[in-house]
Symmetry: C2
């Protein structure tokens, strides 16, 4: 396989993979493109490479920056803005985990807590409902702690060593 072909396939697959996880295709593709770009690139580069409009690039880049996955880079002597993505994959993963946790898991746990405040907690129906809600909350909290450990592992040298147990 030619390198160019492989790169193209990587970008496409990453996009398809993203959509399955509720991430918009283009955003994932831009991220993929940046991951395999050896040096910072401009909006125009992305537009051309992925055949998409300027507005589309701009908005998705903005989102990617919001996710902490992409950064603006200033190239001296250049007027244009350049962009790069962190190539440290473990960092990328923890960053995504951190964001999704904040945006989704935490609010979900909060909501579940509210749902536990129902009247007539003694009623049979209510009890069963509370069991399910409580169980989900418990699982969510455990996931929360586990993810925190993973995030800290990225930030802390010692834990980082421990995590290497997972080969």
């Amino acid at each position: 396989m030619k390198l160019e072909e492989a790169k193209q396939q990587f970008i496409n697959s990453w996009g398809a993979f993203g959509t399955q996880w509720g991430i918009n295709r283009t955003m994932a593709q831009i991220h993929a493109l940046l991951l395999i770009s050896t040096s910072p690139i401009t909006q125009d580069d992305i537009m051309e490479e992925l055949s998409i409009s300027r507005g589309n690039v701009n908005m998705n880049i903005r989102d990617l920056i919001g996710w902490g996955l992409v950064e603006r880079v200033i190239v001296s002597g250049e007027r244009k803005e350049y962009f790069t993505a962190d190539k440290n994959i473990w960092k990328v993963a923890t960053q995504i985990i951190k964001e999704r946790k904040k945006r989704e898991l935490d609010p979900m746990l909060k909501l579940l807590s509210q749902l536990e405040n129902i009247d007539d907690k003694k009623e049979k129906d209510a009890k069963e409902f509370l069991t399910v809600v409580g169980d989900i909350k418990k699982l969510g909290s455990h996931a929360d702690s586990l993810l925190d450990i993973m995030i800290k592992a990225e930030e802390n040298k010692f834990i980082s060593g421990v995590m290497k147990i997972f080969k």
Copy 2:
């Protein structure tokens, strides 16, 4: 808060939560409804409760069964089909993990392996590409192993005890 109100909110939130993870809203809502239903229910019950069409219920129930999250139940003396969802949340989680792993992670790892078969592996550009692909593959494999451990924890009494470390 009244029980009925809480149930309704649970169903809606579960649906919203699902969409963020690439799961269709209705499918998530049906699953939520089944989770908090104290006894098996019919297609008609679901249609009424969620105000959706018969076809919609039918197709999403079929998907849920495909995910191993819902089962058909035969009620003696009844012609209609009834449905239930497993209420063991840890089991639900591992089942979802198992399926997503099979449907998404495994194919992704396979693809990445293919992308490693490029010509001119010695070229500078190629080397950098291979590093990124290799790193993602490595991370994916670790996730794969970790998830296998979690799945086995559900199936194996001993590991199940160990996992309780996570309170």
